[in-house]
C-alpha cells in the first residue's frame, strides 16, 4: 500500500480538553506528530506572556496544532462525497492544518519584532528544508511538501483548501478561540462549533455557511471580538510583552557593544546578528529563553538584570491611558524628565498600541482583501453575513485602537523627593494616587 494511504492498525486518540478526542488514523499524520520539529511545539506556549495575567494559559502550540487538525478532519468528514469537494485533497488539508504553526518560536511576537524574524518564513523552511517533516511529506509523493507549504502560504491554487485553514471562519480561529478561553478560564470564547461544522458547505473556491446556521456564526464573531479585548490585548499581558521586548533589545545592544556576558549567549548569537539559520532557530525554545533570563538576573548590566528580574518575578510595568495625538508633548517632556532622573526612557517608557478588526465585510466596489463570510440562502444565492445579521453588522469593519503608556511605577516612586524632576513625573503619570491594579497581585 502506498505510504499516503497507509492506515494505523488501530486508530490512535489524544485526549483533548476542547474537542474531547483528537483522532488519528493516517500513518503520515502519526509520523508527522512524532517528528522532532513538531514535538518542539510542546515547548512553545500558545499565548506567550498571557500566563502572567491568566495563570492557566500554559497551553502550547502543540495542543493548538492538534486541535486545528482535528477540526479540519471533522470538516472534511462532513464534506465527503459533496459536489465541489475533491476527496484527493484530504491528506493535504490534514497535513497543512497540523503543520500551519510549525515555524512559531518562543514568544513569537516579541522575537519577531526584536530580531526581524518571520515565523511563517520558518514554517516554510521546516517544511521544505532538510528536516524530518520534509522527508515524511516527500514520502507521500515527490513535491507534496511544496503543496503543503503553498496551502499554508495561501498561494495554493485551490482556494477552498486554503480557506479551511485561513479565512474569517477557519479551523485555526475556531480552535484557538475555544482553547484559549478554556485555558485562560474566561467565559467568553465559547460558541457552538458543532453547529457551525454541520452547516459549512464547500462551493467552488470557498466555504460558505447555510443560512440556518447564521446565529451560531454570530456567536463565533462576538466571541472573537470579546477574546481580543479581554484576553489577547489585556494590558497586563502587554506590560509583560513590553518588558520582554526591552530585554531582547538590551541584550542585543550589549552584544553589539562588546559587553562581556558571564556566560556567552550562544543560543542568541545568530539572533543578535540577525542571521538565524534553521538549526539555530529550532534550538531556541522557551526553556532556553528562560535559562538565559535566569542567568541575566546576575549580570553586571543594571538594566538587563532589572528587566529580567521583573519578567521572571512578574514585577511588571504599570500603565496609564495615552492618546498620542493629544499627549505627544507630555510624552516628550516625560522622556526628558526620565533622562534627568537617571531612568533610561528607551527601556522604561513605552507606548504600546493594540488594534483589532472583529469582522470585515466586502462591499462590492471596494478594494478589500478579506473574503467575507457568505451565507448560502435557501434559493442557492450567496449573501454576505453582515447584510443579514444586525449583530455582526454592528461591529463590522470597525477597528478599535487602544494606546497605553507603560513605565516602572516602583522606580519612579523611589526617586528622591529632592529630585526636581520627580514631582512633575508623578503628575504626568498620575502617580499621586494608586494606579489601577497597583498593590494587587491577583490577575
Amino acid at each position: 500500500m502506498p505510504y499516503k494511504d497507509e492506515q494505523l492498525h488501530e486508530e490512535k486518540v489524544f485526549k483533548d480538553p476542547v474537542h474531547r478526542y483528537v483522532h488519528v488514523q493516517d500513518r503520515v499524520i502519526w509520523d508527522l506528530i512524532a517528528a522532532p520539529e513538531f514535538q518542539r511545539l510542546r515547548r512553545i506556549k500558545q499565548l506567550g506572556t498571557s500566563y502572567l495575567t491568566f495563570h492557566g494559559a500554559e497551553h502550547s502550540r502543540f495542543n493548538h496544532s492538534l486541535g486545528v487538525y482535528e477540526i479540519v478532519r471533522r470538516i472534511i468528514g462532513n464534506f465527503e462525497n459533496r459536489n465541489d469537494w475533491n476527496d484527493d485533497e484530504r491528506l493535504l488539508c490534514l497535513c497543512a492544518a497540523l503543520l500551519h504553526d510549525l515555524g512559531h518560536g518562543p514568544f513569537s511576537h516579541s522575537f519577531e519584532k526584536a530580531f526581524k524574524l518571520d515565523h511563517e518564513h520558518f514554517t516554510q523552511q521546516i517544511i521544505l528544508g532538510d528536516t524530518h517533516i520534509h522527508k515524511i511529506l516527500e514520502r507521500v509523493e515527490p513535491g507534496f511538501s511544496q503543496k503543503v507549504a503553498d496551502v499554508i502560504d495561501k498561494t495554493y491554487e485551490d482556494k477552498l483548501v486554503v480557506s479551511l485553514i485561513s479565512s474569517q471562519i477557519d479551523a485555526d480561529r475556531m480552535d484557538y478561540l475555544q482553547r484559549d478561553a478554556y485555558f485562560t478560564g474566561v467565559s467568553y470564547g465559547h460558541f457552538d462549533m458543532e453547529r457551525i461544522l454541520r452547516v459549512m458547505r464547500p462551493i467552488e473556491d470557498q466555504v460558505v455557511i447555510k443560512s440556518s446556521g447564521m446565529h451560531a456564526v454570530e456567536d463565533y464573531i462576538m466571541s472573537r471580538y470579546q477574546m481580543y479585548w479581554q484576553v489577547y490585548f489585556h494590558p497586563v499581558t502587554r506590560s509583560a510583552e513590553v518588558i520582554l521586548s526591552k530585554i531582547l533589545h538590551r541584550a542585543k545592544y550589549l552584544f553589539e557593544n562588546n559587553y562581556t556576558f558571564k556566560l556567552k549567549p550562544f543560543h542568541f548569537v545568530s539572533f543578535f546578528n540577525e542571521d538565524v539559520g534553521l538549526a539555530d532557530y529550532l534550538k531556541l525554545d522557551e526553556s532556553i529563553v528562560f535559562y538565559y533570563f535566569q542567568l541575566w538576573q546576575e549580570e553586571d548590566d543594571v538594566i538587563l538584570r532589572d528587566l529580567c528580574e521583573r519578567f521572571i518575578n512578574r514585577r511588571l510595568f504599570k500603565y496609564i491611558e495615552f492618546n498620542p495625538n493629544q499627549q505627544m508633548k507630555e510624552w516628550m517632556e516625560l522622556y526628558r524628565l526620565f533622562k534627568a532622573a537617571g531612568i533610561d526612557p528607551d527601556y522604561y517608557l513605552e507606548v504600546d498600541s493594540s488594534s483589532d478588526l472583529p469582522y470585515d465585510f466586502y462591499r462590492p466596489g471596494e478594494e478589500d482583501e478579506r473574503l467575507p463570510i457568505n451565507l448560502l440562502m435557501p434559493d442557492g444565492q450567496l449573501k454576505e453575513l453582515s447584510r443579514n445579521s444586525d449583530i455582526v453588522e454592528s461591529i463590522s469593519g470597525k477597528k478599535r485602537t487602544d494606546h497605553k503608556l507603560y513605565f516602572p511605577a516602583d522606580v519612579v516612586r523611589k526617586l528622591s523627593d529632592a529630585l526636581p524632576a520627580k514631582q512633575r513625573i508623578m503628575e504626568l503619570l498620575n502617580l499621586e494616587q494608586p494606579l489601577k491594579g497597583e498593590n494587587e497581585h491577583a490577575d
Binding site: 498561494t155 498620542p324 478588526l357 471596494e366 478594494e367 485602537t401
Partner: protein, 166 residues
C-alpha cells in the same frame, strides 16, 4: 515610541497623496522589497501580498488625525485617498529617524495602476524563483486577472527599475 507609525508618515510625506487602498498596500510592500525598512508583516491574500498590520496602522493614523482619509464615489466603486495632515507633519517633525530617500521609487509606483502593482507585488512575493516559475505561479493563483504576456514582461522590467533604495 510609535516608530513604525512614523516610518509610514515619512512615506505619506514623500508621496503627498495616495489613492486607493489596494494601491497603498502594494506600494508599501514593493518598497519593503526594495529594502525600505517598513516592518509591517505581509501575507498572501485575495489580491496578492496584503498586510493586516498596515491596514490597522493606517486606521490608527487616521484616528489620531495624522492622516486624512477621503472617500470619493466613482461610477461603480468608492475610491479612498490618503494624505498627511498638519498634525501629522508636526508629529513627524518631532521624530528623528534615518529613512532612505524613496521619492523616486514612490513616483514610479504612483504612476502605475493598482492592477499592475498587484502583479508586480505578486511577482516580488515569489522572488528567488526562476522567472518561468514566477510566470507559472502568477497564472495559477490569479487566473481571474488574466494577465497578458506583455503585462508580465513589463512587470519584470519594472522590477529591474525599482532598484533598492539607497
Amino acid at each position: 515610541m510609535l516608530t513604525n507609525h512614523a516610518k509610514l508618515m515619512q512615506f505619506f510625506a514623500a508621496a503627498n497623496k495616495v489613492s486607493g487602498r489596494k494601491k497603498l498596500q502594494k506600494m508599501v510592500y514593493i518598497l519593503q522589497k526594495c529594502h525600505v525598512p517598513f516592518e509591517e508583516k505581509y501575507q498572501f491574500h485575495f489580491y496578492g501580498p496584503y498586510s493586516e498590520e498596515l491596514s490597522l496602522r493606517i486606521e490608527e493614523l487616521c484616528n489620531l488625525g495624522f492622516i486624512s482619509e477621503e472617500k470619493e464615489a466613482k461610477s461603480n466603486y468608492i475610491q479612498y485617498h490618503y494624505q498627511i495632515t498638519e498634525d501629522g507633519n508636526e508629529f513627524l517633525n518631532q521624530f528623528q529617524m534615518d529613512m532612505p530617500d524613496m521619492t523616486e521609487q514612490i513616483s514610479l509606483l504612483k504612476a502605475k495602476s493598482s492592477r499592475f502593482l498587484e502583479l508586480v507585488s505578486t511577482m516580488f512575493y515569489f522572488e528567488g524563483f526562476p522567472d518561468e516559475a514566477i510566470v507559472k505561479k502568477v497564472h495559477k493563483i490569479k487566473p481571474k486577472q488574466k494577465y497578458t504576456d506583455q503585462e508580465i514582461e513589463e512587470a519584470f522590467q519594472f522590477i529591474q527599475r525599482m532598484k533598492p533604495v539607497q
